[in-house]
């Protein structure tokens, strides 16, 4: 299944997350903000730290554009928790561990050959509809600029 496309209803999920949290999409959407859902291959893989660190550094920008950020990998909760602490990541890192990759599968970004989630970015609007969808080459750190651009476009359309 290819990655879910713009205009699709975002499948709901609820997973354990770093910082002893349980994070659910529908609960987050109730706050009336957009939710950036970033899938990444694995905690402690050589590129991810940078990607998530950039998101961390850009949190104020995401906030300014009415978006919350969460990131999902197929690692177990202890691993993502250690990763969050090592990198100073304060937003929620979700463990899509059991059944492994079930959420990534729903979003069409589970790479079953490698047993890892693709490096993929989605923006879900407060109505629960996917407004942005992008799959990055696995070794390429996608950065935050395209997400911030997309959020800015969404804001313009609403205005």
């Amino acid at each position: 299944m290819p990655a879910l496309e713009v205009g699709t209803k975002a499948p709901d999920f609820e997973l354990e997350a770093s910082g002893e949290r349980t994070v659910g999409l529908s609960a987050m959407l109730k706050e009336g903000k957009n939710v950036v859902v970033a899938f990444y291959p694995a905690a402690f893989s050589p590129v991810c730290g940078d990607e998530l660190s950039v998101f961390q550094e850009a949190l104020d920008e995401f906030e300014r554009l009415d978006a919350q950020v969460i990131a999902i990998s197929v690692d177990n909760i202890w691993s993502v928790d250690a990763f969050a602490r090592a990198k100073g990541i304060t937003f929620a890192l979700l463990a899509d561990f059991h059944p492994k990759g079930a959420v990534a599968e729903k979003y069409g970004v589970m790479n079953s050959d490698l047993g890892l989630a693709e490096r993929a970015l989605f923006i879900v609007d407060p109505q629960g509809v996917i407004r942005y969808s992008y799959v990055s080459p696995m070794l390429e750190n996608p950065g935050a600029d395209r997400l911030l651009d997309a959020l800015e476009q969404m804001r313009k359309k609403r205005a």
């Binding site: 660190s53 799959v135 080459p137």
Partner: protein, 189 residues
Amino acid sequence: MSEAHQEQQEHRLRAPVSDDDWSRGPADAPVTLVEYLDYECPHCQAMHPVLERLGHAHRDKLRLVVRHFPVASSHPHATDAALAAEAAGRQGKFWDVHDLLFGHPGRLAPEDLLNHARQLGLDLRRFEDDLNDPQLTRKIEEQKRQGVRSGVNGTPTLFLNGVRYDGPRDVESLSQAVAEAGKAADLRG
């Protein structure tokens, strides 16, 4: 790997190089390389001698610009180090501190930064005042914000004539990229 929604997108510098930037090399150089860096980042550390050699090899046609991107979430001293470079810059010693910071990895604690300033003969009282000047903090924050918007996706991130450079970071590859950017600039006249 899924090919869905693959797009080739150039990442471009949103904030053009200006007189507010720290730069080395001729101001009218046909090629400008902007580096977003973090003084606590080991990859930036490794980049430093490479860029020095690159600058030397292309000294007539390359201008090197550095901007701050302290990844404060994982590098607790990075912002202070950036402030130290900026504060030294107010006394005309930005590049000296820049070189000292990369020349002495791991020495970024407050007392180390003061030692660097002392070693360079800076006015220490003024240096300490400037370290606490909110204007410098804002400058660094703004560079970081612009960096994120331009596609900085970690440190170091390089831009060659305004376009993000994602190629290999050895001297030879970069040298070739600089030469190509120079040719492209010539063609545009």
